[in-house]
Structure formats: C-alpha cells, structure tokens
C-alpha cells in the first residue's frame, strides 16, 4: 500500500515540478489576475448597479484563474506525445491507473498550489472570511480543480490534434466562464436570457464561484442559502471526470493510441 502511494506521489510530484518550469506563463497569469482586479474589476464595478460588485467579481476571478490553470495539464499531455515522453512514462514501473490518477491529482494540485496564494490575495482584497464556511469552500475548490484537470485530460486524449484541443479549450473556456456566475449573479443572467440562465445554473464554475463567495462570509455577495446543492454538483463533476478520465486515458494510451 505504501509502495503504491509512493508511486502515485512520484507521478503527482513530477507534474507539479513540470508546471513550475513554466515561469513566464506563471508570471503572465499573475499579471492577468492583478490587472483584472486593479483595472477591470475596479472600473467595471463603477459601471454596474450591483452593490459590492468589486468583491463579487474578485471572488469569481479566483475561480476563473483556478479553472484556467487546472486546464493546463492537457497541453502537457500533447507536449509529451509530441516529444516522445509518453513512451518513457509508459516504461516506468508505475501502473496505468496510478499514472492516470497521479496526473489528474497532480494537475489539480499544481493549479491549487499556484492559485492558492492568489486566492488569499483575493480574500485580502475582499476583506473578510468565515473560517468554518471557508474550509468547506476550500475543499470544494480542491475537488473542482481535480475535476477540471480530469476534464482536460479526458478531452486531450479523445482529441488527438493539439491544434483542435487548443481551439476547443478556448471556445469551451469562453462558454463555460461566461455562462457562469463567476462574473455576474444568476438572477441577472436569467433576466438577460432564460436559456443562458438555465445553463449557468448547472455549470461547475458557477458551483465553485457561489461556494467561494459563501465561504467568504460576506453577506452582500453571498448568493446561496444552502451550499449543499453546489457542493454535490462539484462532487459529481469531480467524480465523473476523474473516473471517466482514468478509464478513457487508460484505454487510449495502450498500443500508441495517443498518436
């Protein structure tokens, strides 16, 4: 059991180390985060008639950041396939399941390690936190990051072209983030278009954003009366993409199926 955990840990560790090699990407994402807060967030909050929109937006921004960082594991998979690293990974004394599970955990964990400090920056900017609620929210963000990472791996192994993956991720990102409560409250989205409202309601980014706001304990930006439904939504999202991802990845990597 210890040996199995150690092997899993090695896969996770490798993915985390790999991520922190992208220094410029990390810098760029941080600049994006800060400029979204101090420029867009500040000015946009003046433009809308929603009280405490700045705090609302900053909380959503943290979830958007977590989402886009967790997606990055899919690009690593393409890099590896392109440079022949896949064969090396398959030759390691690690089972396929450990490899896939490790990658999914590694993808989520590295996103969390990177975004974690930014989440605390966001909390500082927002100005308050309810420790107990926030622990639950923090846990749900963990699951959310693993789920997104699993989703990225699943899509990456289904679509064999890195260009198509890049495009699909961009379009998916545009739709998933914009049709969520990361940037605006659900009631406004429903008012703008009921179809958008329906989609926004069942979006994992909405679940994560709403839970994060609930975790801050700031009454003005809390949009949830009961956190159970979004929490269950995130658990379902995480379970689906982690386990389905494992099965698909497991099947695809045999016999050069990724090529």
């Amino acid at each position: 059991m210890t040996l199995l955990t150690n092997k899993l840990f090695l896969v996770v560790e490798r993915d985390i180390r790999l991520f922190f090699q992208y220094k410029f990407l990390i810098i760029m994402r941080s600049i994006w985060f800060v400029s979204q807060i101090v420029l867009f967030g500040l000015i946009a909050s003046r433009m809308v008639n929603i009280s405490d929109y700045f705090q609302y937006y900053v909380a959503g921004l943290s979830v958007m950041m977590l989402y886009s960082t967790a997606l990055f594991i899919g690009f690593d998979i393409y890099e590896e396939a392109e440079h022949g690293v896949f064969e090396y990974l398959l030759s390691l004394p690690v089972s396929r399941r450990q490899l896939v599970l490790g990658r999914s955990i590694g993808g989520g964990l590295r996103a969390f390690i990177y975004v974690g400090p930014l989440i605390f920056v966001a909390l500082y900017v927002i100005g308050a936190v309810n420790p107990l609620n926030f622990l639950i929210a923090f846990f749900s963000l963990f699951l959310f990051a693993f789920g997104v990472s699993g989703m990225s791996i699943t899509i990456a192994v289904i679509i064999k072209s890195s260009d198509r993956f890049d495009i699909l991720m961009g379009v998916l990102d545009a739709l998933i983030v914009r049709l969520s409560t990361a940037m605006y409250p659900l009631a406004v989205v429903q008012q703008a278009n009921p179809v958008y409202g329906g989609l926004t309601q069942f979006n994992p980014v909405s679940f994560a954003s709403d839970l994060f706001r609930w975790g801050t304990g700031i009454e003005a930006i809390i949009s949830l009366s009961n956190p159970l439904a979004p929490l269950l939504g995130i658990i379902a999202f995480f379970s689906f993409f982690t386990f389905v991802g494992i099965i698909i990845y497991d099947k695809r990597i045999e016999g050069g199926g990724w090529q």
Binding site: Y22, K23, F24, L25, I27, M28, I31, W32, S35, Q36, L39, F40, L42, I43, A44, R46, M47, V48, N49, I50, Y53, D163, R164, D166, I167, L168, G170, V171, D173, A174, L175, R178, L179, M183, Y184, P185, V188, V189, Q191, A192, N193, Y196
Partner: protein, 263 residues
C-alpha cells in the same frame, strides 16, 4: 533605396498562406469574440448603471470595442510567427530571398495589418448589423483608421517578437502589452469612467493618460461616434492612431532588419 512592389506582394502572399493554415484557430477565436458579445455584453447590459456609466446600452457600446479586440488579436499573430521563424532559424531562408531587407520588413508589417483587417471584418459587420450602419465616407474612414491601427499593432508585435528570444518571453510580453492596452482603454468601459476614477484618486493618473492617448480607445470611440453619436468625433482620434502606427511601423521595420541580420 528602391522598393519593389512585387517583392512586397510576395511576402504578403506568403504570410496570408500561413494565416489561412490556422483557419480552425480563427473560427475558434471568432467564436470566443462572439461569446463575449452575445453572452457577456448582453448580461452586463442588464446590470448597467446608466447614470454612472453614461451609456444606455452596453451591448451597443461594446460591439465596436470587440471589433478592435479582434483586430488586435489577429494583427498580433504575425509576431508569434516571426518569433518562431527566428527560433527555428527560418529567417536565414528569408534573408536568402531575392529582395531587399526593407522590402522584407515592409511586407511583413503590411501583411500583419491586412490579416488583422480580414479577421476583424466579420466582427465589424456584426457590429454594423446590430448597432447601426455608418455612411459611406464614415465607413471608408473607419476601415482606413482600423487598417492603420492594424499595421501599428503588427509593428508592435514584430518589435516584441524580434526582441524576445523564446516563445514564452514573447507570450509574456504580449500579455503585459495586451492587458495594459486593453484595460487602460475605452474598449470595455467609457473613457469618462476612467477619468472620473482618476480625478477621485482611485486610479493612477499615468494610466488615465495612457487610456486617453491609447489608439485602441481612439479607434473604438471613433466607431461609436459614427454609429451611436457618443462620444463626439474628434480629429485627435485619427491623429492618435496615425502616430501610434507611424512609430511602431518604423521601429518594427528597423528592429526586424537589424535583428535578422544578426548572427
């Protein structure tokens, strides 16, 4: 120095062929831009504070800004290609072509600008379809100003591409330029709002000045002036774009010639 048009046209053709190789990427990019307009702008429209923002419809306000956003993204693509050519040493082949360095540099800047205009066209047409149609002289002026802006952006992109040694550095520099130019402009929100925040001491004055002289602000506001009637059209809008375009076209051409000749 003699400049041959056919040599420049060959370079433009070469860059256009490269551009069309990314057709799915372009479709994806247009979809993302349209998602911004038909989802984000529609929702923001519902929570708009008309009095504070000084605009009555965010969708109409944002549509011209979106055309400029698309223009920026596509005109900037030339820099990515030149950066890649430099890293893969394709520029040795480019230098061996029977044309002068100046023709090569002018061709690259020009094609970057033309590609930007072509990519931006569906977004501009969407804007006209939903916001309003300009008169013919106004249309000509819009296209001319956007073309100049696209050339300036591709010049800026080339200048960054040849001064950065890796794709990561290029992408980082592009990100910084992108965020500075877009967030400190009137693409997403009215200039008056930025000026108001600056007067209240809540927004740094150098960034307010950047927003005022930013060519992206000028181009977006000029389209708004023609389609919506606000802000009022001013010749300064055109001047700002001309200065930006002249500075970056010449500096890009100069930097490109210097760098590709370096061993």
């Amino acid at each position: 120095m003699k400049v041959s048009n056919s040599a420049i046209l060959n370079i433009v053709e070469y860059d256009f062929r490269n551009f069309l190789r990314y057709k799915w990427w372009l479709v994806g990019l247009i979809s993302m831009n349209l998602a911004d307009l038909f989802i984000m702008a529609l929702v923001y429209n519902k929570m708009l504070n008309v009095q504070a923002a000084g605009i009555t419809n965010y969708f109409n306000f944002f549509a011209p800004g979106l055309a400029v956003t698309g223009l920026f993204a596509s005109a900037f693509m030339i820099g990515r290609e030149i950066n890649m050519e430099r890293r893969r040493e394709v520029h040795h082949y480019m230098l061996s072509l029977p044309m002068t360095r100046l023709e090569l540099a002018v061709g690259r800047v020009l094609s970057g600008g033309l590609r930007g205009i072509i990519y931006m066209s569906p977004l501009l047409l969407t804007c006209f379809a939903f916001v309003g149609v300009p008169s013919f002289p106004q249309l000509l002026l819009i296209v001319a100003v956007l073309f100049l802006l696209a050339i300036g952006i591709s010049g800026l992109s080339i200048a960054i591409a040849v001064s950065t040694s890796s794709l990561e550095k290029f992408i980082t520099a592009r990100g910084v330029v992108y965020y500075a130019l877009f967030f400190c402009s009137s693409v997403f929100y009215p200039l008056s709002l930025i000026q108001q925040l600056g007067q209240e001491g809540k927004f740094p004055m150098p960034l307010v000045v950047l927003a005022e002289i930013n060519p992206l602000s000028s181009a977006s506001d000029m389209i708004r002036a023609f389609l919506l009637g606000t802000p009022t059209f001013s010749v300064n809008m055109i001047l700002s774009v001309i200065i930006f375009s002249a500075v970056f076209t010449f500096s890009a051409a100069f930097a490109y010639i210097k760098i590709i000749e370096r061993k």
